[in-house]
Symmetry: C2
Subunit: 211 residues, 2 copies
DNA sequence: GTCTATATAGGGATAGAC
DNA sequence: GTCTATCCCTATATAGAC
């Protein structure tokens, strides 16, 4: 949805695309507006026609993820707090997570910079941050501790696959990687120790057949 | 091993402790030497008696983790590349990972800054970076793709538990959290789909007994 | 919409007193 | 070992021409 036809994009979007790459590679603070401008072939000051400040570029990128994040967290918030339900949700979400891989990566590599935004720029502010609902679930004493740990582990496992997919597993097709991660998440959220078999088959043969 | 008697520490170590906190909270770039100095009650320039540059502070913190990381990666490099062996290794490593929790957090929140160090400061350089051996295993085509994904997932799961332990699960004792993570990692690395039972018992009753 | 030129601030780093 | 004072550079941001 984002990549594709490079030509007919607005200058604003081209700035954001370059910024996304540079912020991911070098970090927000170490990326100067001059570098972004150079990459696009015009001068630093030209950026200020499109964005009032460097922070606003970061905020615009935040918004790219925010729409997805808000939908996802809304669904999470309406999902019963148990492993089975979470497993199903992740099953559906992983493809979308992969589609937003680049911008998620940028977020996690610049978490400090994003935290700084809350205090300065306006941010709607009456809705919670992307992770707020998630953190609430983790703090909820009504949910068994084991389940909460499993939840963080599942998110971490997905993030691990995502981060490293950009490095070492780049040649692996996303769909295949997504399937393998779904399988891993399932093992993580699959329930208590005893859960013999017949379950892998329940999830519509996404796995490559053994062998 | 790190926290404890706050009084009889060298100024150098006190600088590092404060820097560790500030770098984690606000990020390396957004933390000025003045802030570090203020926190300690003396002036900015005094820091230069102990460190030649800001980068050297970061490097010193890197070294705090490096010793552990090097040992861990050495063991990892000498471990056969299969899920069973990795599971056993993580089993042993998790306690140490928890002991280094703060500094691991700082590393992952400032990964960009640390990458910048390699190109400037000397860094022994003949030994690999902490993650290098790990990345090699991920790139090794001799290892089944599924196993490699499991490996990243396991690391991600631990990191997830670690990161969020600092936020929402702070009241939970580390030992308990470590046990729950060990259990999760085991489910992740436990082998192929069919692996009925009798395995949880094989790992020396670390788990709280069911019920 | 993009340019050049410039204002301004902040932070890393050095010199030298105490 | 810590201080004050200062230098210098970089980067954000603005003003105004084209």
């Amino acid at each position: 949805m984002f990549s594709g036809e490079e030509e007919l994009k607005s200058t604003r979007d081209r700035i954001l695309d370059i910024a996304l790459d540079l912020f991911t590679e070098k970090g927000f603070d170490k990326t100067s507006l001059r570098e972004i401008a150079d990459e696009l072939g015009f001068s630093k000051a030209a950026i200020y026609y499109h964005f009032a400040s460097k922070d606003e570029i970061l905020m615009a990128l935040h918004m790219r993820l925010h729409e997805f994040g808000y939908r996802a967290m809304d669904r999470f918030g309406r999902t019963p707090a148990n492993l089975e339900a979470w497993a199903d949700l992740f099953d559906e979400l992983i493809d979308e997570i992969f589609a937003n891989r680049k911008i998620i990566l940028m977020h996690q590599r610049n978490s400090a910079a994003f935290e700084g935004l809350h205090h300065t720029t306006e941010h709607d502010d009456d809705h919670h941050d992307i992770e707020a609902v998630f953190r609430e679930a983790l703090a909820d004493p009504a949910v068994p501790l084991r389940d909460r740990v499993r939840l963080t582990s599942a998110v971490g496992a997905i993030m691990g696959g995502l981060v490293l997919s950009g490095d070492m597993l780049n040649d692996v097709p996303s769909a295949q990687l997504a399937d393998l991660l779904r399988d891993a998440v399932h093992d993580l959220l699959g329930g208590r120790t005893a859960k013999p078999a017949g379950r892998a088959g329940a999830r519509a043969g996404r796995l490559t057949p053994p062998g």
